[in-house]
Symmetry: C2
Subunit: 230 residues, 2 copies
């Protein structure tokens, strides 16, 4: 009774696999740029930095795109992964908050080459609405609804200070945005059906700090400034 949508099956791909597909896509692009036409799972896994068994199992969720005894056709597999992720066409994206980070994001060239197109930069500060960043004019935050409607935007990027992030997210959701990438150091509350992913600099650093601390504890012979409390 499983209703095939149109041509492919690919029912439910595990979340962990979804998170790795972009890595494989990038690895395949690198291989293609080097002129490699065919690669084994072993080779691709090495480039992508994962276990080859994991790679094969991940790819098996998409279908059987390899040839036993030979490997994978780089271009073909690349297209299949891109199609599965949904980046064969460009996704329109709005960025809200044109501070230091917003500038960096707007200027990031990897956007367009990887399936995304920045259609608008928004900022609440009216003094910024004169600027043009990376060829895109900064507009008022109130234009959000019009832009989302006209350009069918589904993905929004929050690059505001923490205090404004929840308000921005609420407005985004109200306008019909259903995927949010949050750079603000806050937990965003969103209704069911809206996906949020967060990128948090200080959390990443603190995770590193934890492990770093353990490393120095493990080898207590280092000549640091730690005075013994015994």
């Amino acid at each position: 009774m499983t209703p095939r949508s149109s041509s492919e099956s690919a029912r439910d791909i595990p979340e962990a696999t979804v998170a790795r597909l972009p890595v494989y896509l990038r690895a395949l692009t690198a291989l293609a740029d080097d002129g490699t036409r065919t690669c084994s799972s072993e080779h691709l896994a090495a480039v992508a930095g994962v276990n080859s068994a994991k790679l094969r199992k991940d790819l098996s969720y998409l279908g059987s795109y390899g040839t036993r005894g030979v490997g994978y056709d780089v271009d073909y597999l690349r297209y299949q992964i891109a199609r599965e992720i949904g980046v064969t066409q460009d996704w329109p994206v709005v960025i809200v908050g044109i501070g230091n980070l917003g500038h960096a994001l707007a200027n990031y060239s990897g956007f367009r080459s990887r399936g995304f197109r920045v259609v608008a930069l928004l900022d609440a500060d009216p003094r910024r609405t004169d600027e043009v960043v990376a060829g895109v004019p900064v507009r008022a935050f109130d234009d959000l609804e019009q832009i989302v409607r006209e350009q069918a935007v589904a993905i929004g990027v929050v690059a505001t200070p923490a205090v404004a992030a929840q308000d921005v997210a609420d407005r985004m959701v109200a306008c019909g945005i259903t995927s949010i990438l949050n750079f603000a150091p806050t937990v965003l509350a969103v209704p069911e059906g809206v996906d949020v992913r967060k990128v948090d600099l200080s959390i990443e650093l603190q995770i590193l700090a934890y492990h770093e601390q353990r490393k120095s504890q493990a080898e207590p012979a280092l000549p640091t400034d730690v005075r013994g409390t015994a």
Copy 2:
């Protein structure tokens, strides 16, 4: 036979828990700023955006810092988590690559308030070594070893283009850096004992795109520009 190090036990904390401790730390800081002195696991979990059972289990790995029937003392728990992560003192950090992203990182105020101190900004381009960003002068990349040695730097941030990232990481490792936060869209190869965490914008967006694509497939009655192929 388990050898207590000095005062605490806290042997091995699960990686998933380590990744959430910074979130709890931030939530506790927010509560403290609001004047809250005591909080239950339910309350803290709501602020941190997690399940209360998960929160309690996470905290139990650190020790028994709560009081049954009462909850947790905000300041006390905050200190205990900060100590466990290792951010009671500041960690010196070097940032390599002062492009758009490097500027944004250098200007990020959350650095200092969360246990980190940018001690140096490095760039291979000699034209940038005149600049002063966020009060820190940009220096030549070749100064890396001296800075790492003199300031006992253990954490490095890679904010260069992808092609330079591996070289920068190699140099960092050679200088004695053992934790790297990588913003370049590349897989870094590092020797055993060196921790790498990556922050990758386009991977995050592509994960969102995948789910977004599935959403629109699930409800094919939307009045979009999709022409039926049937």
